[in-house]
């Protein structure tokens, strides 16, 4: 540790100074960590939803293949479906999914994963209709989004 010496005394007093030369290195490391692990969320959250809990969950690894479909409650407490940034009706879902698939330009062995963020109080009638539309549009790989508990 470099000390600064005060001149003028026979006995040199040294003030220990912490070297801050490595501080930028630490900060850069933290910065790179955040740059690598985080994503910029481009979708607005238009609906309110609370996910149900489950213990046997899997983390989706290929994040760029994930497309979100949110089924929640709008400000007027109506059940609504949001895809990308728009609220749509169930009948429009097929065409939106096909549009998303075409925009994705995937290689043949990659498949889009649709993450369904459904509020826990939504009736199964709605969920069933949703999955039926997904099957119609041949979007078969889905993930029911849940929060994790340790049962």
């Amino acid at each position: 540790m470099q000390g600064r010496f005060i001149r003028g005394n026979k006995r040199l007093k040294s003030i220990q100074v912490l070297s801050t030369a490595s501080l930028p290195d630490i900060i850069f490391m933290l910065l790179f960590f955040f740059m690598v692990t985080t994503t910029f969320k481009t979708n607005k959250l238009l609906l309110k939803f609370k996910e149900p809990y489950a213990s046997e969950t899997v983390k989706i690894k290929k994040k760029r293949l994930v497309r979100e479909i949110i089924v929640g409650y709008s400000d007027k407490a109506e059940t609504s479906i949001q895809i990308n940034n728009e609220i749509i009706k169930l009948t429009q879902l097929s065409e939106y999914i096909n549009k998303i698939k075409n925009e994705a330009e995937l290689s043949p062995d990659n498949e889009l994963i649709f993450s369904l963020k459904i509020d826990k109080n939504i009736k199964m009638e709605t969920v069933n209709a949703l999955t039926k539309e997904l099957r119609k549009a041949n979007a078969l790989l889905i993930n029911y989004s849940t929060l994790k508990t340790n049962k």
């Binding site: 740059m35 994503t39 213990s55 199964m124 999955t131 099957r135 993930n143 049962k151």
Partner: protein, 206 residues
Amino acid sequence: MRREQPQINAGSIADIAFLLLIFFLVTATMDYSKGIMRRLQPLNDTIKKNISEVQKRNVLTIFIDNKNNLIIDKRKVKPSEINALIKDFIANPTENKEKSSKIFLSTRKNQELFNKNTEAANEIQRAIDILGNIKTSEGIILLKYDKASNFETYIKVQDIIITAFKELREAMAMQILNKHIDKLNQEQMLALKTAIPVNIAEPDNN
């Protein structure tokens, strides 16, 4: 005369880095999706046919009614009971004729070859190589629900079913491979999943 070397003032690098870091902290999210992966059935009639072909003893029906009660065999069950019911149904240690039947992996492989599913047959062959020609269950879980039941209950049941199958696989790993399930390599894990597949059928609940 000693010339002082010109130095770049490095004090501001830390400031710049701090600013960039704070920018990222504020704008970016560590957003990842966690949940239950499922592959939906394609929309055609072959699945409906298959359900009716399965023997009654090989189907365990779990029904969610409109008050979110779980009903098995016409009686209401508590979520905690379902785990034991599923494990008993699939494992069927006493070879009870009311519970699921078991067939050898080799028989399953021949069935797949008969249906020209060579990939599935190869997977079963790899399972035979790793686990031996064991008897595995033909049972499936049929999940039915009333239109007015909650999504929360549906997920809870899915969770219970997956947990039960996971415990069945853990037991098999301990029994046959003598290892804890977390210590298996990828091939062994795949063989285990082929031997005890999580078969959940959901009929078109119209």
